[in-house]
Every structure is written in C-alpha cells, then in structure tokens.
Subunit: 189 residues, 4 copies
Amino acid sequence: MKDKEFIRGKVPMTKEEIRILSLEKLDLKNAKTFLDIGGGTGSISIEAALRNKDLKVYTIERNEEAVSLIKENMKKFQIENMKVIKEYAPVEDFKENLDRAFIGGSGGNLREIIKWVKKLLKEEGILVINCIILETLHKSLEILKEEGFEEIECAMANIAKMEKLGEGNYFKPLNPTYIISCKRGKFVE
Amino acid sequence: MKDKEFIRGKVPMTKEEIRILSLEKLDLKNAKTFLDIGGGTGSISIEAALRNKDLKVYTIERNEEAVSLIKENMKKFQIENMKVIKEYAPVEDFKENLDRAFIGGSGGNLREIIKWVKKLLKEEGILVINCIILETLHKSLEILKEEGFEEIECAMANIAKMEKLGEGNYFKPLNPTYIISCKRGKFVE
Amino acid sequence: MKDKEFIRGKVPMTKEEIRILSLEKLDLKNAKTFLDIGGGTGSISIEAALRNKDLKVYTIERNEEAVSLIKENMKKFQIENMKVIKEYAPVEDFKENLDRAFIGGSGGNLREIIKWVKKLLKEEGILVINCIILETLHKSLEILKEEGFEEIECAMANIAKMEKLGEGNYFKPLNPTYIISCKRGKFVE
Amino acid sequence: MKDKEFIRGKVPMTKEEIRILSLEKLDLKNAKTFLDIGGGTGSISIEAALRNKDLKVYTIERNEEAVSLIKENMKKFQIENMKVIKEYAPVEDFKENLDRAFIGGSGGNLREIIKWVKKLLKEEGILVINCIILETLHKSLEILKEEGFEEIECAMANIAKMEKLGEGNYFKPLNPTYIISCKRGKFVE
C-alpha cells in the first residue's frame, strides 16, 4: 500500500518499503493473532488487517493524536478485525495469546515490553522490531539474546526513492532502518 | 519466504528483501494474470503463485538450467497456477492479456521486451523492473517514458544483512538494486 | 575541514565526506593548476587551495550569491592562490593549461563543459565530477567514454551521520552521491 | 592513494574511501605524533606518513604476516618517519605523547586500548576508530562517553564502486563501515 493512502498527521509513519519488509518478516498469512506495539499512525496494523481478513489485530498506542489517526484510518479502510488499545505498553491485563508481535516504538520500556511479549507469544511465535536508533538496535539484540529468542536476524535497509530535481531525478534517502526478526523458541519444561 | 527455501543452482536469484519489495509494487492481490520475464530461479513467480492462488502466472526463461530449477521449485512448493515458457523474450505468439508484468532480466532486448509487454498489458496494468546494472536502469527509465508509461517510480534498495563475524556481527551488503514500477496508462483512441 | 567552518548561505554545499572523497580523487598534491566548475560555496576550491599552497586554483561560478560566498570564504581562510571567475562555463577565453578539473555543477551544459575541459587538460590530467542526479551520472559516463577519457571510475557514496534523537542516536543520511573520476589520456598525434 | 598501490597479502586492508575519510577525521596536518593500533597492511599509517613528512608515525600490529607486509610497504614507499611495533596493544612501555591515534582493530581489548590511548593523548588530541562490527561500534561509543571523550561523532559509510558486469556496470558494495571520531578533552585538575 502506498504511504499516501494513509491519513497522516504529524505522527511519524513507517514508510512503505520498511512496512512491507517488516510485514514480510511477520509472516502473517500463517497467523491468527497479532499485536502491534507503538502503532504510530497504525500503518503496520492497518495493512496487516487488510491483507489478512482472518487475523485478529491489536494495536497498543499511548499517544492521543496517534490513536485518533489510527481510528480514522480504520474507518477509511473499513477495518473490522482490529482493536486499538490506548495504553502504555506493557499492558498487564492484556492476556491474548499471540502468534505474532511487532514493536515499532517502545518509549524507553524496551526490556519490559520484550519480556511481556515473550509471555504472550505462542511457541515459535514471531517478533519483529523496527528501529532507527542505534541504542535501540543494540539493546534489542542484547535483550532478545538474553531472553532466549531464536533465529535472531537483522536487515539494515537504506532505501532511497527517486524524486524530480530540476530536469532530472535524484534518490532521496529514507533514514537507515533496522528490521530485527526472531522467534520465541520452543517451550522447555 | 526465505531465500533458503528455494532450490538454487548457480542461477542468480532475486534476494528475499528485493523480491518482497518487487512483489509489493506488483500489487498482485488485485490481478488475474502475471508474466515474469527472465525468471531466473523463478523465485518471483513462485512466491507470486503461492501467495495468490487465483493468479495465473507465466514465466519466460531462456536458460535451460534455470528452467529446470524453476520446475523443481514448482514441484517443491506444489505450484499449479504457473506455467514456464522456455523461450527468448519477446515471445511473439504469447498473446495473454496481462494485469501485471515483471522484468528481472532482459538479455539485451530491453526495448523490444518493454514494447511487447506494453501491447499485452491491460489498461492500468502494472510493470515492475528490477536491475542492478546502471545502464539498464537508465535505459528502462528512458524507454518507459518514451512508451508513455505512467506513474514511473524507482526505489534504490541498499540492503545489508547481519552476519556473524568473530564474536560479533556485521552487516553484509547486497548489491544496490533498483526497483522500477509504472503503469500502462489509459488507452487513448 | 568541517562543513561548519565555511560561511554558507542558501547555496548548496558539497558535504564534508563527499568533498574529501572528491579531493582525494583529484590527487592535488601532484598538481599545479586546478579548475573548479560550478563552485557553489567554493568549499572544494577553498579546501584545495588551503591544503596545497603552491596550487593555482580557478573557480567558475555564475551565481551572484554563490560568488559572494566564495569571496567571503576566501577572506575568512586568507586564501591567496585562488581566483573566482563569475561566468557561465564553458568560458571561451579561459586558456590556462590544467592539471586537474572538477565539475560540481553544469547547468545543463555538460557536454560542452566536458569537451572544453578536455582541451584545457594536460596529458594524464585528472577530471572529477560529482553528481546526485541520475541523468547527469549517465550522461557524464557516456560523454567521458565518447571523448576518450581513460580509467573512468565511479563510487556511489551513501553516507549517514550520527545525530541525537531523543535519548539515543540515529544515522541521518546524506543524498546518495556519485563521484566520477577519470584521466585525460595520452595525446595521440 | 589507490588500494592497488599497496602490497597486500591475505591481511584485510582498509579500503581507499574509508581510509581517506578516516585520515581526514584525524586532521594529521596539524599533528606531530600519530599512533595506529591494529595496523593491518599499514595502509593508514603508510598514507599518513607519506602525506605528512614531519609526522612521527607508530604502528602497533601483533600479526606476523601483517608486520611483514607493513615493512614491505614501507620499503616500497620509502617511508622513514614510521616505526612498526610488533606487540599486542596496549603496549605498556610505549610512552610517546600523542597528537593523534587510530584504532583499526582491537582484538577484544577495546576498553583497555581506549583507556591507554587516553593516557597517551595530548589535550585536544584526536582519536579515530574504524569498525564494521556492530558490537564494536556500540562498545566504542559507550566507552568513549564513559572515558570523557568529547565531540564524539560517527559517520556510517556505505560505499559502492562501479564495476563492469556483462556490457554494463553495477555498483559493488563495500561493507558498511562506521568511522568514529572524538577528542581527548581539556585536562581538568
């Protein structure tokens, strides 16, 4: 889906190419439940819900303006398989069993959020994290390792989009973005 | 789909991240017929066919070894909505009306292939071209413009994948790849 | 030299990393005369002149505001081995024999400028071209080949600089820039 | 200086573009003494010594094969202002006061090496670190901060070099490299 199709405010939005790479890593066609943490404009959740009509999508977002945008986008795209939770993550009374989770923003609670997600994820469930902040990249990799996540992978995406400049075209760069993906390992007794 | 899931020979394969970005631009969920030109290992076609069970996929590939690989992959993934055509493109007696087309390799016939694709594409049909060669990028943009294609866009993808090195990890770069997408405009009488 | 040391207006300036890579390709320590075409803020010329006190530097720049900036920068850095020529390139009555030339901006006259530079360059003289525009990259490579330049090389530089964001740091990307370098071949009778 | 001018074995060598960016950050023209830690083929030291005839260059390298290569390169380029120390860093009885230091390889002793360099560096002395390993990037930034280094900057360089492929050219990427630079702050009593 093109970025321009989303209703956007001043809330930062995951860009099209990053969104699609992240969604791919989430492998949602084989999932029933998906939690999106730090939903922003909700572009990840919206596209996840639209592409997978049988998926139950939960979006946690604490920012009022962002929540309004998500709801506007849900209306625009007539999304019915998605629920927005206006809270700070972790949300202790959210108990849904998850096939997939995505962290797009952590507001400084990265460790707590990852530990919480680990409890919610099913065996072999997939977690994807997006970040542009170097320290978040480092901490994520460290915490995921400590918490026993498996098949930890990371792609750095330097995407640039062709844009007009004078009579020609140049490549306007997006921010270098890290896309981390991993699996909740098998349960061990 | 991960690259490692494909049976690969020495035939170059579109890498996972590039494949998924290209498939996204093709917007196949809204299409009925898709032609993949220069199929290589067939990874684009295979993933297109797997994700869209109602899509009819045609793959043109002239290289014997590549055709064998494509067929092996079709068997592995039990693909039934895909047909391989062992020919040099353009294939004059291929007359299918197309919703989508992809050029992954042109063997020096870029202009002929684009002109031929233009004749096959339906109104508003989408063409996506992948290239790493600078001259192919330039020629493609030029020819697409001359032939009246619309909404010509291009993304340059510099993707690097985290890999182990000693006790740490570094980012191993893929070749910078250009992903061009455009639309066959409305028919004018 | 850091970008912030230069007096800058609204004129675009070659960024530190690109400037230093370009200067390196110019190999100015082995040169006596250097022409900078499309000087902008003059950062290439200024740094060339400062680092090589015996080098005679000529800067051609047609934009009034840019010329003022160059002169302010010359004053600031007390440059004496540099001359600014306020003209459109090519400047037909400029007849200096050149060891090195740099094209940072061509104002649409790329072919004429390259042909003119070729006449001015000594045997084995070096020409470096910077561009961010795809069409300029393509045309430059094409014209340089046609005009018989040798050892044509090109580096694409995707540089990103660490900047604070919240409590952390991210990498802010510069525009992808192409640095072309080549040699005026040996004179053939 | 071009990479091909160096005598190379199997020892990894800092590539031309990375070397020149690193040398620039070192600002050697305003220095008298320079220490290169983990010299590899010595390309940084050699180019530093060649460009700055009055600079005293010290290279610490523990690998026998690398030390031989450095010495061969010193002979080739007739370097006289450079001394090779075959040791593991930190080298406790090396007591030279330093204007500049470069860490190209740390063999797992990063913290000890940075602390040791800090003791050797003069007030306002510059330290530059090159790395491709993510963990080294992170640790370096952390240690430099803890040790009170100032003006910590970092550039990520994604450089790709044009190379022939069939009848055209593509951009072959170098490994993404981080170039960290910082200053030993003012001495405080």
